[in-house]
């Protein structure tokens, strides 16, 4: 699991990185709100931990921007003890949880686990990118041109692409998320399922496509101007 940590206090950030990494999370630390936004817009994470009080762009603004763009990744806010108002605003703007400082590391880890667990529950019932809709209940991918029910793996992969449009996603990330890090499946499985999805997208007259970026990454892109 890959987490983004935005915390401007360097010492605290280092402690958090250590704890999380010891518990098998991959953590990317940033130290202000703007970098947090930049990272969240260009890379793919399983969740984010945001400090509210940061220089420049604060954690709440990062959260709001993220949610406004339709990104539903799990987010936990770190708040100072007195900031009741901030906690309420944070939760109302789509934070999954908050943790008042100072905190016990065991509680932090338990809350991160919980946050990742409830991820699927707070998802919408469907997602739309371009003219393509993905229905989470029926696993259907559809457009005005028709609809296909996807296989489990196809669906999981399409969901990753549709929740992260315009972001290059590496083959490894796709593999780990769809098959799991322990899977014995060959990595080429990713390409096989992308081939299935590409043909189905074309058959639906999609104005988005899964394009290859560099050697190892794929990206869902708007192709409405290509036609």
């Amino acid at each position: 699991m890959r987490l983004l940590l935005a915390e401007d206090e360097k010492a605290l950030s280092q402690v958090l990185v250590n704890i999380l990494e010891k518990n098998n999370y991959v953590v990317e630390p940033v130290f202000d709100g703007l970098s947090a936004l930049k990272h969240l817009e260009t890379e793919i994470y399983d969740g984010a931990i945001l400090d509210i009080m940061m220089p420049g762009t604060d954690g709440i603004t990062v959260l709001k921007t993220l949610r406004k763009k339709g990104n539903r990744m799990p987010v936990m806010l770190l708040t100072a003890k007195a900031e009741v108002e901030d906690r309420v605003i944070g939760l109302d703007h789509g934070a999954n949880d908050y943790l008042p400082k100072p905190f016990d590391t065991r509680e932090l880890l338990a809350r991160v686990r919980t946050m990742m667990r409830v991820q699927s529950v707070q998802m919408d019932e469907s997602l739309m990118v371009g003219n393509i809709r993905l229905d989470f209940a029926t696993l259907e991918m559809s457009s005005v041109g028709g609809s296909f029910r996807l296989s489990g793996k196809e669906f999981q992969m399409m969901k990753i692409f549709m929740t992260n449009p315009d972001i290059p996603i590496t083959e490894d990330v796709l593999f780990d998320r769809v098959w799991g890090t322990d899977s014995e499946e060959e990595r080429q499985a990713v390409w096989v399922y992308i081939s299935f999805l590409r043909k189905k997208l074309k058959a639906l007259h999609a104005n988005v496509a899964i394009n290859t970026v560099g050697q190892e990454s794929y990206q869902l892109e708007d192709v409405s101007h290509d036609r």
Binding site: G146, S195, K202
Partner: protein, 211 residues
């Protein structure tokens, strides 16, 4: 009314056109590149529209119910149905037919790209024979995959049933079946492409662009 009574002498022309088109399709199957690539036609059926169903069709569409009207207003007095294995085969044979100089293509309808609301998928070509004793004769060629053809047999039965229990539900389920079949057809084609092109070093979108 018998077919002879309705079509008269024209019946022979229609039968000749039917034979002519079947021969043409047989020719396609003999093409060396088709024999080699296994893109063969699985099955080919044909029929002359019965007088009864022709009259019914003319009536439904508000045309005069005579021979002249039948030959000008309806394309499928002669009907050919080609059943293929894979979707790409459908487009390959369609492209080949549309290039024939002896045929004038009046209309083509691609229900694979734009399925009917009930889920029906097929490729239809309405054509007119240009020369010879059959010049001017019109025919319709339907090309589809085996899987869709299987679906269509049941859908056809539904058309002639007067009373269907839970009709709306049945139609919805049948539409869902059509979508599943289409998805399977696409997956089968994708797998076939992979087997033919190898498991590519090249991760670009290698597929053909029929859609």
């Amino acid at each position: 009314m018998t077919d002879e009574e309705f079509y008269g002498q024209t019946l022979y022309t229609l039968q000749n056109a039917e034979k002519y088109l079947l021969k043409l399709i047989a020719e396609y199957q003999e093409l060396p590149e088709i024999v080699v690539s296994d893109s063969f036609v699985m099955n080919c059926q044909s029929r002359i529209k019965s007088a009864e169903s022709m009259v019914k069709k003319l009536k439904n569409r508000g045309f005069k119910e005579d021979l002249h009207s039948a030959l000008t207003n309806v394309y499928d007095a002669v009907g050919i149905r080609i059943i293929c294995g894979f979707i790409d085969d459908v487009y390959k044979i369609a492209a080949w037919i549309e290039k024939r100089e002896e045929l004038e293509i009046i209309l083509r309808k691609d229900y694979f790209a734009w399925p009917k609301p009930n889920g029906y998928r097929s490729y239809h070509i309405c054509l007119r024979i240009r020369e010879g004793s059959m010049a001017g004769t019109q025919a319709e060629i339907q090309i589809r995959t085996m899987a869709i053809d299987f679906w269509a047999t049941l859908e056809h039965e539904l058309k002639y049933k007067k009373k269907i229990p839970c009709e709306e539900l049945i139609r919805k389920e049948l539409k869902r079946c059509a979508d599943e079949i289409a998805a399977t057809d696409i997956s089968m084609q994708t797998i076939r492409d992979m087997l033919e092109n190898g498991f590519c070093e090249n991760k670009e979108d290698t597929e053909s662009s029929y859609f």
